[in-house]
Amino acid sequence: MDKTNKIKAGALLVSIVLAAAGGAEFYAMRGYKEAMVLGPSVVEVRKLSQYEPSLAGTANDANIYILDSSVPGGTVMILGGTHPEEPVGPIAAHILVENARLEAGRLVVVSRANRSGSLYSRNGEAYPNYFHVETEWGEKKWRLGDRAASPLDSWPDPEVYVHYPSRQMLAYMDIRNLNRAWPGRPQGLLVERTTHGLMEFIRREKVDMLIDLHEAELEYPVENTIVAHENGQEIAAMASMMLTAQEFPVPIGVEFSPKALHGLTHREVGDHSDARSLLFEVAEPMLDRIRGVTDERLLMEGKDEFVMEAGKHKLLYAPMDENGWPIEVRVGRHLSTILQCIDVFNMMIPDRPVTVAGIPRYAEVVEKKLGYLFRDPSKAPADKVAYD
């Protein structure tokens, strides 16, 4: 073997070793299951494939947690994990499922609305694969993931993504983005079928209000706000006023869902069902392109010198100081906003009440952190633990 071939063989061997090492981490992430201890009000865990059969056996056959008071009332549905790279959604979903006590009506929770996207990391962004919350019994661990479904589960993308049914043209990769694929269609690609299944659930189960949990970079203008469909604007406006006046040091605003922008929950769920559709945003510095070192600490503590520097140049849409946007603040805001919107909903539609107890509000979460809100799955009976 001459020198060139020796170099080539060596390079091939090194490449195989590195690919295997990287692949092992990737494989471990794809196989990791998040344990959810079923709380006192959980009466059933359904699969999304009950509403869109083609999802059976796919990565997106999500768990749907049904919390029922057995007292007649309305139904509120919470979506976490629409964009898996925004961890507050799944964390808030776990807190609700493990702790909520329903006193009237039903609460429906999906922790991993686009589970496929949580099974791989986002190329080029250097995200950590997992995030952890310290508890009294050890660490609770979630997958982080990408914004869109994995190409392993939905590939190839079209040349241009033409949204159904509006025919609006979107970027090709947005066909894997759950929040661009509503209301979905049964013959579509994986994520379109996922949103179709979720829409079927919303229509068949007569969901009164849908809340989609998100986070946004501070450079993004739709920040710390509730984006509301026309049918949810009164609820959003009232909740925003009360939260800003009584709870949040940083105000929460209201944005009206643009009628011409298709595929998003706040537009399509309201247009294609009777559910009032709301989307919550809170600031997450790790999503900013101008962030510094990308690691789990930034994700959970939300502190970053570079983002702070950008704030000094008035380039941000949310305040940023040395305290950052820690995970407790972000989760606390979403939990309070959920509870406040439900309260306003109950005021406006008193004949379909939904009463939720056992969920802490913003101040308590910020003070006590998150660990105390999670149950140890190893101590729970096997039939009281579900896996996402």
Binding site: A21, G22, G124, P156, P158, E305, F306
Partner: protein, 441 residues
């Protein structure tokens, strides 16, 4: 954090420059990414990063980054395979001979059609080198027959090839930068077409427009290869029509037509070339040669993904973004037409995610039209493809056309006027992006 990120950038630059003395651009870039990653792993222990772990490893970041532009690479390779087959089947020779036969007495029409022929391969593949390698030689032969001297001929081929890479629908710089900024790659066709077509036409007419109206048909035909027996307009057009039908069908009947993706569309169109070719083509040989020829460019796209991921991991990408977004707009307008081509000469497509993404963010923040502004940048970048150290398209043009003159003293010097014209138009598009937003339909 600032000191750490500056150190990472210094390591990247120093290791790249040292490695470049012995290694290729892509291997040098990989070496700089690995060195920066290793430094970050040990200098920033708070991240909990290891070299090999099952939860948070440096190796995973390098491997994962390499797949960032996987789809773009597939499109690039399959599109180039398609165009190479068209050339091998004699289709390009047939088209060029027809142009000479039909329009030899009308120089302007002839130049117009030759510009179109130069634009198609790059527009479909996003690669100026592909344009040079598939049609550059033949178009160059016609230009010689029209009395264009070697320097201006080589410059015309380079400039039109550079503009073809910028032309829609496939503009790799815009695609890569848009993907990094969560900006849909929709609406770019208008501004890219206006800038690239006007740039290509100006270049062709400036460099080859002067001379006798009538070319020596015999001399031209003698230098052009003959298409194989049986080649006709239908055989040439069928693969392109098939390609257009597949693309348009996905847009016209999006909910009924199966989604097969651009790489498969190009591969199926390649099969039509094979079926229509009057001569039997060795598909496997052409494919392996295509991949072999594209290895340096595909290599850059793979390695740049790893480099960008390491820069993002270590905060260096954020530092670059921050330094860019706090710059005054006037400074950018006055310097981008120089900075972008020079950076392209150094880093090739890597500049799109590295500089393009923070610039898009800045333009967004300043209320500019990001699509028009990015289109302008995406037409400026390929101008740098004749600049060192890479000079991929410039070198390809010189080699393909057998140019014997001085590279900078003759070839690049003659390109300067068309380059300035393109740079001027692009700068106007940057400054008036908001007013030109109607182009982004």
């Amino acid at each position: 954090m600032f000191a750490h990120a500056y150190t990472i950038l210094a390591i990247v630059v120093v290791v790249f420059l040292i490695a470049k003395m012995r290694l290729s651009t892509e291997l040098s870039m990989l070496a700089s990414a690995a060195a920066a990653g290793l430094y970050h792993t040990f200098a920033w222990p708070a991240s909990g990063l290891g070299i090999f772990t099952l939860e948070n490893s440096l190796v995973r970041h390098i491997v994962e980054g390499m797949f960032t532009y996987f789809d773009v690479c597939l499109i690039f390779i399959s599109a180039t395979f398609f165009m190479t087959l068209v050339k091998e089947s004699g289709g390009v020779a047939f088209i060029v001979r027809r142009i000479v036969e039909g329009f030899r007495t009308r120089r302007a029409v002839c130049l117009l059609l030759l510009t179109l022929v130069m634009l198609i391969p790059g527009a479909l593949t996003g690669s100026g080198a592909t344009a040079v390698l598939t049609v550059g030689g033949l178009v160059g032969a016609v230009l010689s027959a029209m009395g264009v001297d070697d320097t201006r001929k080589t410059a015309a081929i380079f400039m039109t090839a550079a503009m073809s890479a910028a032309a829609p629908p496939i503009n790799l710089w815009a695609m890569m930068a848009a993907a990094g900024a969560n900006l849909p790659y929709v609406g770019f066709n208008g501004p890219l077409a206006v800038l690239s077509v006007s740039g290509a036409l100006f270049s062709m007419f400036w460099l080859a427009g002067r001379g006798e109206g009538i070319m020596d048909e015999n001399q031209a035909m003698k230098t052009l290869p003959s298409p194989p027996e049986g080649m006709n307009a239908f055989r040439v057009a069928a693969p392109f029509v098939f390609l257009a039908v597949l693309v348009l069908a996905g847009r016209i009947w999006p909910f009924d037509f199966p989604i097969i993706g651009l790489p498969m569309i190009f591969m199926l169109s390649s099969a039509v070339v094979l079926l229509c070719s009057p001569v039997r083509l060795k598909a496997w040989t052409v494919l392996t040669r295509t991949v072999h020829n594209l290895l340096p460019l595909v290599g850059i796209m793979i390695v740049v993904g790893a480099l960008i991921q390491i820069l993002a991991l270590s905060g260096a990408r954020g530092l670059i973004s921050l330094e860019v977004v706090i710059l005054p707009l006037s400074t950018l307008f006055a310097t981008l037409f120089i900075i972008l081509p020079i950076s392209e000469g150094i880093l090739q497509y890597a500049v799109a995610p590295l500089l393009g993404v923070p610039l898009i963010m800045l333009f967004n923040m300043k209320g500019m039209d990001a699509i028009v502004a990015l289109s302008a940048m995406a037409v400026l970048w390929p101008l740098g493809d004749c600049l060192p150290p890479t000079a991929v398209v410039g070198r390809a043009a010189v080699l393909e056309l057998g140019f014997k003159g001085r590279y900078f003293g003759d070839f690049v010097k003659v390109c300067l006027v068309p380059m300035l014209f393109v740079a001027f138009c692009c700068t106007l598009f940057l400054i008036y992006s908001k007013q030109l937003s109607f182009l982004a339909f």
